[in-house]
């Protein structure tokens, strides 16, 4: 686990970051947390529109669940009030539980969908819930493909240090060297 995290840090430093795209908030329904599902043109060649929209819509539904006003949230609020809000010292709120679910979902999406395409999603909570930051990494695998690498292919030889790899290839190379 530590090595993978270290690898991801390394790739962030060494893999060249081409640009970042920011998905802004959608305030048309008020102050509830929702992100715009409009497909940014920079991602046109990188990821399918449908996958992207699905990710954003799932995130929106998670946030709606966190901010849902209903019986359970009222109960939590009344209980907290009755204990003069000391109960928050021991137990975590419903919102925090959903945020943890969201960060697990984002990790999973990064692993399965975004990293193989040379993209990385940043959890909105780290950006003050203002934007979904998508980092686009330069896509120059040693295998020579210059267009979007939707499927990771293993390198045939060790890449020279001057060649920049896409994130998934680098991870795979490091994994393979570890296995050996």
């Amino acid at each position: 686990m530590a090595t993978e995290v270290h690898n991801l840090q390394e790739l962030r430093r060494s893999a060249s970051l081409a640009t970042k795209v920011f998905i802004q908030r959608d305030y048309s329904d008020g102050t509830i947390c929702q992100f715009q599902t409009k497909f940014p043109p920079e991602l046109d060649s990188r990821i399918e529109r449908q996958l992207f929209e699905e990710t954003v819509k799932t995130l929106n539904s998670f946030y709606a669940e966190a901010e849902k006003i209903g019986g359970s949230s009222y109960l939590e609020g009344c209980l907290a009030c009755a204990t003069a809000y000391f109960i928050f010292l021991c137990m975590e709120t419903h919102y925090e539980k959903v945020l943890k679910k969201i960060s697990r979902y984002i990790q999973e999406q990064n692993e399965k969908v975004f990293a193989p395409r040379g993209l990385l999603l940043t959890d909105p909570v780290e950006r003050g819930m203002r934007v979904i930051e998508i980092s686009i990494y330069e896509d120059r695998c040693s295998s020579g493909s210059s267009s979007s690498a939707s499927l990771p292919t293993p390198p045939e030889k060790d890449p020279s240090p001057s060649n920049r790899e896409c994130p998934s290839c680098m991870i795979k190379r490091l994994r393979l060297t570890e296995v050996k």
């Binding site: 840090q9 008020g30 102050t31 609020g77 009344c78 984002i106 990790q107 950006r127 293993p154 795979k172």
Partner: protein, 446 residues
Amino acid sequence: MPPGGGGPMKDCEYSQISTHSSSPMESPHKKKKIAARRKWEVFPGRNKFFCNGRIMMARQTGVFYLTLVLILVTSGLFFAFDCPYLAVKITPAIPVVGGILFFFVMGTLLRTSFSDPGVLPRATPDEAADLERQIDIANGTSSGGYRPPPRTKEVIINGQTVKLKYCFTCKIFRPPRASHCSLCDNCVERFDHHCPWVGNCVGKRNYRFFYMFILSLSFLTVFIFAFVITHVILRSQQAGFLNALKDSPASVLEAVVCFFSVWSIVGLSGFHTYLISSNQTTNEDIKGSWSNKRGKENYNPYSYGNIFTNCCVALCGPISPSLIDRRGYIQPDTPQPAAPSNGMATYGATQSQSDMGLHTSPWSGRHGPPSGANLSKEVFLEATQCGPSAVCRPESPTTEAMTNRLRHRYVFRKEAVTLQDLGVESMRRPGAGSQECPLPVSLGTR
């Protein structure tokens, strides 16, 4: 089938480099000498932090200590001098109820004062640059120019047009109902007002605690006042009025304090009950944003339609967690928000010396850019004190516009000379190499 496709990829966890991690993620060989710093230590706003980032307050806390002293002394005197007599003469339930009220008041006061009101973290340099680019595209001007027009975005919320303003300090478009507190130098979500009596802003995350505080304090004040009067009356029946006062001099002090407080606190509770039931903030009410006087079509788009739902949502709705992550460790490779320029720092230093909003010298009489010391006096024109008969007032529109203009000037003086300053070396602007934003000569350099 690619050999690396199945097994190793499954084990490889792309764990997000979390800035929420409780342990510093540093390489073990280097950086042992540098102690990991927590984010509150480099927080750009004008706040004070205690207990290693657990407690967060505004910079000016003098009035908060006064509030504490008043409540503690009055309640202490009540329990020490009046309760023994009343518990025996009437019922022992009096000190019990008084005790419960007192603990509730203290609990909610400390919660209001010490918690994050809903501060929005400032934009990272990448985010700020992206927004600037989009604004330039929208305005059709090149970003080399200085003093661009005020930046607003319009959104339609439930049929009402709401203007989102760009905050020059935090470099974000403020969400609806958010406002920038000039005293704390932060954008706060659902900003209600800055309350010096609790030493903190009142915003989305601590509004319910604030309301519970003033409500329970009203009950406590009325309770103490009523029973102090009862105590004096009962004693006067036995020994005469003057002797009664001599026997319990503390009662006089308590009665005086309670008498003067009850009007303002009960009044404030009533006002906030009205605000909660109509789902408005003090800010919106003062500006008359949703009042019928602006037009027949003007209504509050955030209201849920009925009083009961509005109250329930305000008091028992979900609480969002703090977005500023005060106790997280600073990661070496994560982007930090653009630090305030030195102009801002002097802005803050002199503010702490100035009285709270008693300077009303007009800006229009001044020529040329002001020096740092005068700047703080000019800009903080508002009295945001919760006086006995006044309501805590937020920044008025005119000073906000002025403030924004001044801040913008400072931004262009100290920051963003080149793209490098924004930390976006790798990003290129379309159709240009890396080019410098020319500093306007008239503003001079510092």
